[in-house]
Each structure stands twice: as structure tokens, then as C-alpha cells.
């Protein structure tokens, strides 16, 4: 059992050494980041506290709204975790370069599975936890929860994080194993496509366009009740968390122990099934993935010709840089998954705007507030995408940066190239 702890030790030490390094490098920057995180927590806590209090003041229907919101958020957490775990498990189980080092040592595959599962859980869940903590804290505060509520939070959340991770790693391993060796990289396209189909069916199932006016209390209550109905499916782990938490908030007698037990049993079962499957297929899947070196689309002469044609009007230096950037971007298989998921989110965003009639907002101020918040959201998404794609393109040139620095390309030319190649796709 101790082996898997040793297997994640390098990651823990890396995190610790990074933290210490960052603190030594610039205490101000370090404290700034810490304050930002604490500030974010405080803002989320205060926002939800205010919203929950104002709903609660409406009486029983307000409580219904609050608990509908809780059920909705837990459901969103669950599907977010599932999506994020699928992407993370591809990295931790198949792309990680240290697997070559680990698998050449006398380590059992069970231990590798446990260690990689823990890594996957951490990578995909920290952001959900970071957001969930102040959100659930606000519920505890507003409903004056006892200590048992706060104690039940980790007891409910640990298995809640484990279940989607174990399911996602299982799916990833099976899919890679099903693909023939040269085509294993297609998994990066197939998995997000399956997720996109799942999201589509979820939206069609909920039919939000049939929900009435969102800006009236009955309309909002109807909308929440649709979600509440969907999230109350007894097979959903988010429902088990919901049931155990509302019982402890004192609003429903319920059986929190039963639902906590269900969560732990399901988590244990999914991990055991995952371990069994991993023992049978992980090594072969990993070895097959190593053999699947073919690049998708971007390796085809058609793609090369298309790039050549599109970039022909550019000066030769810029053209070389643009072609190189686009080829390396599309050959990084994980970017495909991100692009597909991004496309799904953008489609959902537009769909929401097309089906909700914001002109029905009760006053001019609210109508404009929605538009204003929309602009803010677009800005936020643009910044997030820039940080995720454009900033990294410049800041992480790493070892290959010598090619640029030793060639007759001015830093200004290089930076302008990065600016334009990032700006054009961002504008879409």
C-alpha cells in the first residue's frame, strides 16, 4: 500500500519545491497570489450568502430555490468533474513522460493505478473544491448548520471526487485499448465528442426553452424545479451528496448516514473495478499509445498545402513562424480535446441566449444588466483563453526557444506574430 504514496512523492515534492521557490523568488508576488485566492473565496462566500439570505427571506418557496440551486450546483460539479477527469486521465495515464521511468522499475500495476488515480483526482478536482468550499460554507452559515454539517462535507466530498475520476479513467483506458495502435491518438477527439453528445442530450432532455419567464418568481421556480427533478435521479452521486447535506442543514429529516454510505460504497466499487480493469489492460493500452505516433490531420499534405496557401501573403519570416505555430498546436493531441470542449461551451452559451427571452426582464435596468454581464463574461472568457493558449505560446518556448533566438528574427517580429496568431482565433 505504501508504494503508491512513494509514486506520488515526486509530484508532492515538486509542488513543495515550486512553492518554496516562488516564495523565495518574490515574496510580494507570492503574498499577492495568496491574497487573490483568499479574496476570491471571500467574494464567492459573500455573493452566495447574500443570495441565499434574500431567497430565504421569501419563506418556504425561497428555501426551495436555495435547495434547487444546491442540487443544480452539485450536478454541475459532477459533470464538470467527469469531463475534467477524462482529460486529466489521458495526461496522467498515457502522456506522462515519467511513466517510462516508473514502468521500468519493479512496481506493481495496481500501485501505478492508485497513484495515477490520486494524481488525476487532484489535477481535476482542485478547482471544483476551491469554488465549492465558500459556496457550501455560505449554506452552512445561512442555515446555521451544526458542526456535523462541516464534518460531513469532507466525508461526502472525498468519495464524490473519487467516483467521476474512477469512471473517467476506466473509460479512457477501455477506449485507448479498443483503438488500434497507430490510431490511439484519436482518443483525444473521440472522448470530447462523446462528452459533447452527452451535453447535447442533457440540454434536449431539460428543454430549457419550454421554461417560462425566468424573471418572475414562478418562472424561476419552474426552472429550478426542472433541474431539481433531473438532479434527483437516485443513481446520481450528486443526489447522494445533496441528500446527506440537506439533512444536516436541518431542512429535511432524511438519512445522511445512508447517503454517505452509498457514496463511499460507490467510490470503493468504482476504484476496485478500475483497478481490476487497469490490471488487465493498462500496460497494453499504454504500450499501444506509445506506438501510435501518427499525427492527425496536421500531418497530411492537404493541411500543409492549406497552411502554405493561407499564409502566402505574409512576409517569409512571419509565414515560417505562423506555419510552425499552427502545426505544433494541432499536433499536440490534447489541444483537440480542449478545442472541441470549448466549441461545446460556446454552442451552449449561444443556445442559452437564443432560448431565454431577456427582453421579458421586469425593468430596463435588469435588461441592461444582463447585457452588461454578458460583455463581462465575454471579456473573462477571452482573458482565460489568452492565458491558456496565447500566454503559454510565448512563455513556455523552453528548449526550442534557441531556434528563434539564434535566427535573424527580431523579438518584436516574434511577439507580433504571437499576437496575431492568437488574436485572430480569439476574435471568433
Amino acid at each position: 500500500m505504501k508504494d503508491w504514496i512513494n509514486l506520488i512523492r515526486p509530484k508532492i515534492l515538486t509542488f513543495k519545491n515550486r512553492l518554496v521557490g516562488s516564495y523565495r523568488e518574490s515574496r510580494i508576488k507570492f503574498l499577492g497570489r495568496t491574497s487573490l485566492a483568499i479574496g476570491f473565496w471571500a467574494v464567492v462566500f459573500l455573493l452566495f450568502q447574500k443570495a441565499l439570505l434574500s431567497f430565504r427571506s421569501m419563506g418556504p418557496s425561497g428555501d426551495l430555490l436555495n435547495f434547487g440551486l444546491l442540487a443544480l450546483m452539485l450536478l454541475i460539479f459532477f459533470f464538470t468533474l467527469l469531463m475534467s477527469n477524462i482529460l486529466s486521465s489521458l495526461s496522467t495515464f498515457f502522456l506522462s513522460e515519467d511513466l517510462n521511468l516508473i514502468l521500468s522499475r519493479p512496481v506493481s500495476l495496481d500501485q501505478v493505478y492508485y497513484a495515477r488515480l490520486v494524481e488525476t483526482i487532484i489535477y481535476s478536482s482542485w478547482i471544483v473544491l476551491f469554488f465549492a468550499a465558500p459556496f457550501l460554507g455560505a449554506y452552512g452559515w445561512v442555515y446555521g448548520a451544526s458542526a456535523s454539517f462541516y464534518l460531513a462535507l469532507p466525508a461526502a466530498f472525498v468519495p464524490f471526487l473519487v467516483i467521476p475520476s474512477a469512471i473517467a479513467t476506466l473509460l479512457t483506458m477501455v477506449l485507448v485499448n479498443l483503438l488500434r495502435a497507430p490510431r490511439t491518438k484519436y482518443v483525444f477527439i473521440l472522448l470530447p465528442i462523446f462528452l459533447a453528445i452527452g451535453v447535447y442530450f442533457l440540454v434536449r432532455f431539460l428543454q430549457p426553452e419550454h421554461v417560462g419567464d425566468l424573471f418572475s418568481l414562478p418562472g424561476l421556480a419552474q426552472y429550478v424545479s426542472v433541474w431539481l427533478h433531473f438532479s434527483s435521479q437516485p443513481f446520481l452521486p450528486s443526489f447522494w451528496v445533496f441528500e446527506s447535506l440537506i439533512a444536516l442543514l436541518g431542512k429535511n429529516p432524511g438519512y445522511p448516514g445512508f447517503f454517505l454510505g452509498a457514496l463511499w460504497i460507490a467510490a470503493g466499487a468504482t476504484v476496485l473495478i478500475g483497478r481490476r480493469v487497469s490490471r488487465a489492460i493498462f500496460f497494453n493500452s499504454w504500450a499501444k499509445y506509445q506506438e501510435g505516433k501518427k499525427v492527425i490531420l496536421s500531418g497530411s499534405p492537404f493541411f500543409a498545402h492549406l497552411l502554405e496557401m493561407v499564409t502566402r501573403p505574409l512576409p517569409p519570416q512571419i509565414q515560417a513562424l505562423v506555419i510552425k505555430d499552427l502545426k505544433t498546436f494541432f499536433r499536440d493531441a490534447i489541444q483537440w480535446s480542449r478545442l472541441i470542449l470549448l466549441a461545446v461551451l460556446v454552442a451552449l452559451y449561444f443556445h442559452s441566449f437564443s432560448v431565454f427571452n431577456f427582453n421579458k426582464a421586469p425593468n430596463f435596468l435588469l435588461q441592461n444588466l444582463v447585457s452588461f454581464l454578458n460583455i463581462g463574461l465575454v471579456g473573462f472568457i477571452s482573458v482565460a483563453l489568452s492565458v491558456r493558449f496565447a500566454f503559454i505560446a510565448v512563455s513556455q518556448k523552453g528548449f526550442s526557444f534557441w531556434v528563434i533566438r539564434s535566427s535573424p528574427v527580431l523579438p518584436r517580429t516574434f511577439l507580433w506574430n504571437k499576437f496575431w496568431t492568437s488574436l485572430i482565433p480569439l476574435c471568433f
Binding site: 508504494d3 512513494n6 509514486l7 512523492r9 515526486p10 515534492l13 515538486t14 519545491n17 515550486r18 521557490g21 513522460e97 515519467d98 517510462n100 521511468l101 516508473i102 514502468l103 521500468s104 522499475r105 519493479p106 512496481v107 506493481s108 495502435a181 497507430p182 500496460f283 497494453n284 504500450a287 506509445q290 506506438e291
Partner: protein, 247 residues
């Protein structure tokens, strides 16, 4: 002792290794030479248990890495051509991690061995520095230290002296000779013909996944019908690269 029986590996339609049969005795240093893409790294990765053979069998000290991976890997030291190192770990932390992978306890004396190896490779003053600050040669020396930490019976090396300065290269050559004298079986793949010439008791020349010549340097010379004492002309003649060497 290393035994390969009718070993084969296909990548789709491409045959990387074809029916390779070979035995390396305990305490022997065996060198595998071959032009690029001959299949050397594929053979080494199969021996290290990182890929499974399509056909045939490997036995390392009597253990098959495909059937008993943990037992086979426990007696194996592996130095890859492109090793992975955790940049944000110190050399000492990395070795502690490797000791953990081999389940070495303090009673096994791995700490003393680690200190000795770090001293031998001039890394002791750097042991508490992050690996990201190590030079290429220091990284290679750390990898060799990590491969020897658990006192393996078999050492598999893919390009042993890449990035080492002349002093480091000599150190490694002498170390390999001493380890082999102590009973360690060493299987190395290299492009550095001088290393093979100096260290290896037998040499196998691999081309397109098949051994085309195998024996001592003297036997290979006879096979190629060449008088030159150097390995380079012999290698070029046997692999048919002789005619293409000069532009």
C-alpha cells in the same frame, strides 16, 4: 544472464526486430551496434519491460519481463537514451524516490551506497540542488547513479556516455569494467565505436532488426575479411555503409 529467444517486434506492418536469438553470460559486457533505426532501442525497451514483444521471449536472470515484470525489473538497472528526470526535485530526493520504487530500506544500506555513488560521480556537492540546475553531463551521471542504486545483476544501457566529458566517460568505462568483474551482466547499445571496442567482450551488429554479425572483435574482423584493427571500418563494411560515408 540475458537470454533472448526468437524475439520479434512489429509496429503495424513495420517489422522492427526479427527473430533475434542471443545469450549474454553473467559478468559479460555485450555491445549492440547498428545504424540509426536498426531496432536497438526497441530491443532495449523490450528488455526493460516497457514494450511487449510481438513474438519470442526474453529472460533476465531466468525471469521473463512480460510474465513476471516485478521480479525481472528488480534485478535490472536501466539507463535510457532519453532519460526522464523530475526537474523540480533535488538529486537526493530523486534517489530517495528510486530507492522507494525498489523498496530499499535503510538497512539495505542504500543511503551509504547513494553517498558513495554521488561522491564517485562528483555530484555530492550538488545533491541538494534542484535537478533543473544540473548540466547535461550531471544529469547523465545522476541517471547512472539511480540505475546502480539497488545493486542490479543486469545493467542495460542505451548510449552510455552521451553528454559526458572525457573524465566522466573514462569514469563510466572503468566503472562498467569493475561491475562486470564483480559479476554484473552489461548489455549496452552505442554509436560510440571506441566504447564498444574498449569494453565489450562480444559485439552484435544489428541491421533492419536482425543481427548480421556476432562475435568478438577478432571474429568480426575475420568475418568481414578486414585487416584494420579499428572497429569503424569493420562496422561500415558489415553494415554496407562504407560506400556512402563521404559526400
Amino acid at each position: 544472464m540475458i537470454e533472448l529467444f526468437q524475439l520479434g517486434k512489429n509496429y503495424g506492418d513495420f517489422c522492427a526486430v526479427k527473430g533475434l536469438t542471443l545469450q549474454v553470460q553473467q559478468g559479460e559486457i555485450f555491445g549492440l551496434l547498428g545504424p540509426n533505426s536498426a531496432g536497438k532501442t526497441t530491443i532495449i525497451r523490450m528488455m526493460a519491460g516497457l514494450i511487449r514483444p510481438t513474438s519470442g521471449r526474453i529472460l533476465l536472470g531466468g525471469k521473463d519481463p512480460a510474465r513476471e515484470p516485478e521480479k525481472a525489473k528488480a534485478i535490472l538497472g536501466y539507463i535510457p537514451d532519453r532519460p526522464y528526470l523530475y526537474e523540480k526535485l533535488t538529486g537526493e530526493e530523486f534517489l530517495e524516490f528510486i530507492a522507494g520504487l525498489h523498496r530499499l530500506n535503510t538497512e539495505d544500506g542504500w543511503k551509504a551506497r547513494s553517498a558513495d555513488l554521488l561522491e564517485l560521480f562528483d555530484l555530492h556537492l550538488w545533491r541538494r540542488e534542484l535537478i533543473e540546475s544540473y548540466s547535461h553531463g550531471m544529469r547523465q551521471r545522476l541517471i547512472i547513479t539511480a540505475a546502480l542504486l539497488h545493486r542490479p545483476k543486469i545493467l542495460i544501457v542505451d548510449e552510455p556516455i552521451i553528454g559526458l566529458d572525457p573524465k566522466g566517460a573514462r569514469l563510466v568505462r572503468n566503472l562498467f569494467k569493475n561491475l562486470a568483474k564483480g559479476g554484473m551482466t552489461i548489455f549496452l547499445s552505442t554509436h560510440t565505436l571506441g566504447i564498444a571496442e574498449e569494453l565489450c567482450e562480444r559485439i552484435g551488429i544489428l541491421q533492419r532488426g536482425q543481427i548480421i554479425a556476432l562475435g568478438t572483435l577478432e571474429e568480426l574482423r575475420e568475418l568481414a575479411k578486414i585487416e584494420d584493427r579499428q572497429l569503424e571500418p569493420l562496422f561500415l563494411k558489415l553494415t554496407g555503409e562504407e560506400e556512402k560515408q563521404d559526400p
